[in-house]
């Protein structure tokens, strides 16, 4: 598939093994995936990469957590309409995942979803 036609995904995830397993599966499905390990790295990637979907973990190394990344995106006119996914092991309503003013398009608990379900969600959000 032409690179320009491929749907673009930015994923912020600091766990190397999860990044590798899911990253490969997403790439195999034809997505153009950029993986960032920290919130700061994600923001820097977004300077010259406009994805179709942004997926973030909540608990990240460095000064920014997943909500900080989403908040920054929500203030950027170029990025604010991009669908977002929180993919975290903190469930909605659990401690870190507790309600926040920035609401993602989808909220997925990593341990509860299969790779297939994540890819379906990405395809669904890219189709809109």
């Amino acid at each position: 598939m032409e690179t320009s036609l491929r749907k673009k995904v930015l994923w912020v995830e600091d766990d190397a093994l999860l990044g590798k397993i899911l990253g490969e599966a997403i790439a195999v499905q034809g997505f153009d995936l950029k993986l960032a390990v920290t919130g700061a790295e994600a923001i820097s990637i977004l300077d010259d990469f406009t994805p179709d979907v942004i997926m973030v973990d909540l608990y990240l190394p460095g000064d920014m957590n997943g909500y900080d990344v989403l908040e920054k995106i929500s203030h950027n006119p170029k990025l604010k309409n991009i669908p977002t996914i929180i993919l975290s092991n903190f469930g909605k309503g659990e401690r870190f995942g507790k309600s926040h003013p920035v609401i993602p398009t989808k909220y997925l608990l990593k341990a509860d979803v299969t790779i297939g379900q994540i890819i379906e969600t990405l395809q669904e959000l890219c189709a809109h």
């Binding site: 766990d15 899911l22 469930g91 309503g93 659990e94 341990a111």
Partner: protein, 240 residues
């Protein structure tokens, strides 16, 4: 003095729950790694022996994930301010039918007759979908675990005035009159349930009661005694 002890015991309880929450969250990452790796390996595996092994690993891992989720829910529930619920108005009948669907095969495999009866007119309730699903799954899992082949399990949804009542009725091992008042207590398992199943650890009914209480509803149990089955009734307010 008593206020001092009350405060300290609550502080200790909070610390204990905080500890459980942190540990349980730490467990979820390696559990996710195993789950996703199994899925990836299964998709490419052609050897039936290896495929069966991977499926078993995946199933055991999913059990651990469920257990971890329950532990987090118990700990968060004890710190009630932490657990936030997201309520939405939805069809109770659709939810009951969808939740019961995967159980049809499970009951069939055990030769238990399973039926779901919902009224023609829909019933709308304001609920936290995932949590009510948890309650229904817990009641159905218990009914399956504690009923022998040849027995019946039925789910009935009815509208009773301003309320909706979901009843899960089985003719399984039943509950003795002495143990009936303890059935929703944290970590409680009746003697007969322990003899029939060693895996449970007595939190699903405790959590179910907490969940239904947060919905301003009620959950009750009745049984005519050992070997005489059990009936669980969940009452929720109907949204007109």
């Amino acid at each position: 003095m008593s206020i001092f002890f009350w405060r300290n015991s609550h502080k200790n309880e909070d610390l204990k729950n905080e500890f459980i929450t942190i540990i349980a969250h730490k467990y979820r990452t390696p559990l996710t790694q195993v789950k996703w790796l199994c899925e990836t390996l299964l998709a490419n595996e052609t050897d039936s022996f290896k495929k069966e092994g991977l499926t078993n690993i995946n199933q055991s891992n999913n059990k651990l994930i469920k257990l971890t989720n329950s532990l987090i829910e118990v700990a968060d529930n004890d710190r009630s301010a932490v657990a936030s619920y997201s309520f939405e108005v939805m069809s109770l009948c659709d939810l009951v039918r969808a939740t019961a669907e995967p159980f049809k095969n499970l009951f069939h495999e055990k030769n238990i007759f399973f039926s779901v009866q919902t009224p023609v007119d829909d019933i709308k309730c304001k609920i936290d979908k995932q949590r009510i699903e948890f309650v229904l799954q817990s009641l159905l899992e218990n009914a399956r675990t504690y009923s022998s082949p040849g027995k019946n399990v039925k789910v009935i949804v009815e509208k009773c005035g301003p309320n909706a009542v979901i009843s899960v009725i089985d003719d399984g091992i039943g509950i003795s009159p002495e143990e009936l008042p303890l059935i929703f207590t944290k970590f409680f398992r009746s003697e007969s349930s322990r003899r029939m199943d060693t895996e449970g650890f007595g939190i699903s009914l405790f959590l179910s009661k907490a969940i239904i209480r947060r919905h301003k509803g009620e959950i009750g149990v009745s049984s005519d005694g050992l070997d005489k089955g059990a009936r669980f009734d969940v009452t929720l307010k109907v949204v007109e």
